[in-house]
């Protein structure tokens, strides 16, 4: 029995913490549902050209507000455009905004959080005071102000979101760094003579990555909601580019006569945000730092 165990151990492949987390994630059904939704929507966004049954921008006034039918599965809008096709192409816009806004705010937040946590002192003071100012500022108001100054459009939306989105991330990263830099493995790297960059990027960052990944995933849902909200307010994506938020907004005027117009884009927003949140929750469980020794 003992011999067998030793034999098994010697054959067993080394398992990194990432591999263990992945195993734990795939065991979690809800997380898998989330992951599938996310993967499907990414697939749809990439291959929108091939999947969409119609051109999302093709106006055909003879098909004014048709209800769902075999021909137009989710009906048509006031210009006779196919709603399904517009939702499919809208995935591109929503994911793009979510993705780029998250990439910018996560990278900015990670770097600033690392600096604040590692160096402490006035660097920490300055960065954290800025974070607090940003937190005190109403998010939507800030985005509206940026859009009012620079005009609506996708680029300015990135700008607005990136300017403010890093604050939360940097606070999370800073907290991680504060606890990690006191750990003995960091002291031992220093005792060995490792430089600051090496300590930051080989010792501290890899150990702070789990909460960053969780934040990135959970934040995606928030970003998609934000895009939808801003487009709904007319501050985001401009017509005729299809986006889920602007579709809900335009459809609202026809709510009584053509319920399918605002409802279907709304449902899609809900499902996708739900998917990202499920995945984020699953990742949180899978990457639980308490299970790391």
């Amino acid at each position: 029995m003992a011999d067998e165990l030793i034999l098994q151990q010697s054959i067993r492949k080394p398992r990194s913490l990432w591999k263990i987390a992945w195993k734990r994630l795939v065991k979690n059904r809800l997380a898998l549902v989330g992951l599938s939704i996310v993967l499907i929507i990414i697939f749809i966004a990439i291959f929108a050209n091939y999947i969409a049954p119609y051109d999302p921008l093709k106006v055909d006034l003879s098909k004014y507000l048709l209800p769902p039918s075999r021909e137009h599965l989710l009906g048509t809008d006031e210009f006779g455009r196919d709603i399904l096709s517009r939702i499919i192409f809208g995935a591109r816009v929503s994911l793009q905004i979510g993705f780029f806004a998250q990439v910018i705010s996560i990278s900015l937040g990670t770097v600033l959080g690392l600096l604040a946590g590692f160096y402490g002192g006035w660097v920490d003071d300055v960065i954290m005071r800025i974070v607090e100012i940003l937190f005190a500022f109403p998010f939507l108001l800030f985005v509206i102000a940026v859009v009012a100054v620079f005009g609506p459009g996708i680029q300015n939306l990135y700008l607005a979101v990136a300017l403010i989105g890093w604050a939360g991330v940097s606070r999370i990263v800073r907290g991680q760094v504060l606890s990690l830099r006191e750990r003995d493995f960091v002291a031992s790297a220093r005792a060995v003579g490792a430089g600051t960059l090496r300590i930051l990027f080989k010792h501290i960052l890899p150990n702070a990555l789990s909460p960053i990944i969780i934040e990135a995933t959970l934040g995606m849902g928030g970003m998609i909601m934000l895009e939808a909200g801003l487009s709904f307010l007319g501050l985001g994506v401009q017509a005729p580019t299809p986006s889920w938020g602007s579709m809900v907004q335009a459809g609202l005027a026809y709510m009584r006569s053509a319920w399918w117009y605002p409802v279907f884009p709304g449902i899609v927003i809900m499902i996708v945000v739900f998917g990202f949140n499920l995945l984020g929750d699953g990742l949180r469980d899978a990457l639980d730092p308490r299970l790391y020794i």
């Binding site: 010697s10 080394p14 398992r15 990194s16 913490l17 750990r183 003995d184 493995f185 002291a187 031992s188 790297a189 220093r190 005792a191 060995v192 003579g193 490792a194 430089g195 090496r198 080989k202 010792h203 890899p206 150990n207 790391y292 020794i293």
Partner: protein
């Protein structure tokens, strides 16, 4: 004592941690006097023990000597050079000669790195190997040296037991062939059965490579087993320095006597005859240490002079120093 024998000398070392209040304009309201004016030396090839209660400044001494913390004042002379004042690039070179083994083997290894990355790091940082083949060879050598198998190299720290992890930590410390190793309670976090293995391993390595150890522990039986000379520390000060046998047979300072009387003896007859010194109260705060002798509030032989005059280390017998007004 021949001066050439001395590897490391500590002179009047102080380490104060400032206490600050206030958010924007912080003011200095006091100091935690973790290490307060201590001096000692370590000879080549010896194992110097450092004992004391938790919080008496043992680990701070270790970290200051290894230059993980800046000393507040004092000199640390390693091979004739004061290392508290050397520039950054020389400090880097110095890192090859002195290494540290940590107490908690769970915190001492980066959980995201494989064993070969962990042991290979010092080799990479100091560019002592020319290519990855040489590096792998050296890693295998080191693993074998500390009693681990070659296939362990690609594993991660969480796949090992506490004792095995401590072996990995020792392998990392040995990677650059240091002359001097500070062992900061290397066995305190381990099971008793594993403790002996690690101690034996450290002794074997000392014989093989002529290492010098500063061995910090609160475990007097471990200290007795491994050390040549012993320093006893109380609240940031050294209270007694003595050769191993001498300290255990005739401790001079009341604090040392109290520490030793707390060690269990597996013979009830001897145990019954032994004079018991039981300390009252807790260690006072190192922010406001007691006046005079720092031990006087807890000392069973306290005299008037103790609270007024601070006793200095005096050589009572050859090589046996103590700081107590009784002697």
């Amino acid at each position: 004592m021949d001066n050439n024998d001395i590897l490391l000398e500590v002179r009047n070392l102080k380490k104060y941690f400032p206490i600050k209040r206030g958010i924007v304009f912080s003011r200095h309201v006091g100091d935690v006097k973790a290490v307060d004016n201590i001096s000692f030396n370590i000879r080549k090839g010896e194992t110097l023990g450092l004992v004391g209660e938790s919080g008496c400044g043992k680990s701070t001494v270790a970290r200051v000597i290894i230059r993980l913390l800046e000393p507040t004042d004092g000199e640390i002379i390693f091979e004739g050079k004061d290392i508290t004042k050397i520039p950054q690039n020389e400090l880097r070179k110095l890192r090859r000669d002195m290494q540290i083994i940590f107490q908690d083997p769970y915190s001492a290894l980066n959980p995201r790195m494989t064993v070969s990355e962990i042991i290979g790091e010092p080799l990479e940082v100091h560019k002592v190997v020319n290519n990855s083949k040489e590096k792998q060879k050296r890693i295998q050598e080191l693993l074998e040296l500390v009693g681990l198998a070659p296939y362990h190299a690609n594993r991660y720290p969480h796949e090992f037991s506490g004792g095995q992890r401590q072996r990995i930590g020792i392998a990392r410390a040995l990677a650059l062939n240091p002359k001097f190793i500070v062992a900061d309670e290397p066995t305190s976090a381990l099971d008793v059965s594993v403790r002996a293995q690690i101690i034996n391993l450290m002794q074997d390595l000392q014989k093989e490579f002529g290492l010098t150890y500063l061995f910090i522990s609160h475990d007097l039986s471990v200290i007795r087993h491994i050390c040549d000379r012993i320093l006893v520390m109380y609240l940031g000060k050294l209270v007694e320095i003595a050769p191993n046998e001498e300290l255990y047979s005739s401790p001079l300072h009341p604090y040392t006597q109290a520490l030793l009387s707390a060690v269990p003896i597996p013979d009830p007859e001897v145990l019954g005859k032994r004079k018991k010194v039981i300390l009252l109260g807790d260690v006072p705060s190192p922010v406001n240490p007691p006046s005079g002798c720092r031990f006087h509030p807890r000392c069973p032989y306290v005299m008037d002079v103790c609270s007024k005059v601070e006793p200095q280390l005096k050589e009572i017998k050859k090589g046996h120093f103590t700081a107590c007004h009784l002697h």
